[in-house]
Symmetry: C2
Subunit: 315 residues, 2 copies
């Protein structure tokens, strides 16, 4: 039996749907059913139920956005660090495998391949860097699972949210037998405040940058593929291969959804951070070679985006 | 056998000395002997050795002072939150009692009793508040173990250090069978960079405020008294009863040690925070009625200070 924590959240729902689709024996667990933030309570529960896998899709993301985590530091640390650590410890005590859903937002930028070698660029929108990847997108090399996070408390500046996500990976890695499944900017065809496409459709002004994205259904499918294929425990980047700019996604929205509204962009980072955001945002490209090498199929990001938009279901 | 983690630290040494003095069976454990920050390693070790009590005197205080924690947030969280949580979980898995050494620096100020009732004052140096306790010291009521910390991530502003200490108490409370032993500003007769008296002797300029203090030997003795008396698990403030101002301590230093140097004070809080410190400092008074009610004897702070100064051992 697979135990799913945080199944009511935006990401948790996708795992619940995929577990149902696969007809795997599973059980959702909400904090109302059982206070799984308590080590003692969870330890007792795991001892009795001995699940085959515990998936933690719970976390604290801040509402309406990540800026809220700057002022809710205790809640952010409790939800994103202490909770995953508690789950990992309780699982390890009985040698139960677990999966912690993490985020690629612990990186900034990407690696850029030049004649002189490969270097990290934290800001891909700097004109000189932008010229490189606009000329030849293949110079962009995503961060792999062995690259140390560079948008974290150890490598500031970072948002408080990203700091806690990076710290949780550090604290959970090496505990028992665990997966760390990292997504980036979720989207799919279902309109939702957490869906990147819905956000772009509703932002008064859009912030342009370069990112990897994760189709929500693809994420859940790829994650459970790793589990069913007995892929080695450890960290996996789970995004759709490739990267996109916000402008490119807006272009696809215009082409396919043909919305009546016009889209405006912030002039530049300076304007966005002065007027539109409080804490720095992660924008980054992840590499998924490890996921693909494990035999998991992922559609390119352009294909997944087109599919979501062509079957768009407004709420 | 009592297991002591962090025995090489300033506070850990006092526990080690007291364990030796009492001829209790105990064992020091350093990170060099065993990586007790790893849940798996510690869990296995506890399963094999089954100590009667695990005392965690390890923590991250920042060097040269608490300001360093503002820039070393990952280390501060790892040492002050993730480590205590890991120890508590590993102990709880085998129902082993544990003690986490915490700090009273999660409070600011004190409660002040007036004709209208008791109110919290975060800053006892405000002229209007100061006039009250200078006229009648008995109006000052220390924070008890049931008062919620008011110098924490939940009640900012706070230092990052204090935020992590308050969060650790939250995360560790309710796990297994545990003590939380809180000290405030340690001192004793032995000159040491961590000793409050040494600090006052060496600060170029002194910051005047009101605080409870903990004589280091008294702290270790009182803690082990709680354990040996089978006092109920939970939080205990362990300071010498009463409170002092920095000026009063400097007066005692002048009277007893008769140092050749003159002592200068920062003009006020504004000057101190502009020139002498980066992050806000906790200054507070704790109540020790719970400790005394458990049958543990503690000398008044004035007596403990006089004793330390009369037997002062310069290094």
């Amino acid at each position: 039996m697979i135990l799913l924590l945080g199944y009511t959240g935006y990401i948790g729902q996708a795992y619940a749907d995929e577990l149902v689709r696969r007809r795997l024996p599973w059980r959702p667990l909400s904090r109302r059913d059982l206070d799984y933030t308590s080590f003692d309570v969870l330890h007792r529960f795991l001892k009795e139920t001995k699940p085959s896998l515990v998936i933690n899709a719970a976390g604290y993301t801040g509402k309406p956005n990540v800026d809220a985590c700057e002022t809710r530091q205790a809640d952010t640390l409790a939800g994103n660090v202490i909770l995953p650590v508690t789950i990992a410890h309780a699982c390890a005590a009985f040698d139960i495998p677990f999966a912690h859903i993490s985020s690629g937002c612990i990186y900034a930028g990407a690696k850029i391949r030049t004649a002189d070698g490969v270097r990290v660029e934290r800001d891909l929108m700097q004109p000189a860097v932008r010229a490189l990847w606009e000329t030849d997108p293949s110079v962009v090399v995503g961060f792999t699972e062995t690259d140390e996070p560079n948008f974290s408390f150890r490598h500031p500046p970072c948002s408080f949210y990203s700091g806690t996500k990076a710290l949780a990976e550090e604290a959970v890695s090496g505990v028992g037998r665990g997966y760390i499944w990292r997504l980036r900017i979720p989207f799919d065809r279902f309109d939702n405040p957490r869906n990147y496409l819905s956000k772009l459709l509703r932002y008064p002004r859009i912030y342009d940058n370069v990112n990897s994205l994760s189709h929500r259904g693809d994420l859940a499918r790829a994650s459970l593929d790793l589990w069913e294929k007995h892929a080695p425990f450890g960290i996996y980047n789970i995004t759709n291969p490739g990267f996109v700019t916000s402008r490119q996604v807006v272009e696809s929205i215009r082409d396919i959804l043909k919305p009546s509204r016009a889209f405006e962009f912030w002039a530049d980072d300076a304007e966005f951070y002065r007027l539109g955001a409080r804490t720095p945002r992660s924008n980054c490209v992840l590499d998924v070679a490890k996921l693909l090498a494990a035999g998991v199929v992922m559609r390119p990001v352009g294909e997944a985006l087109r599919d979501a938009l062509e079957h768009w279901s407004a709420s």
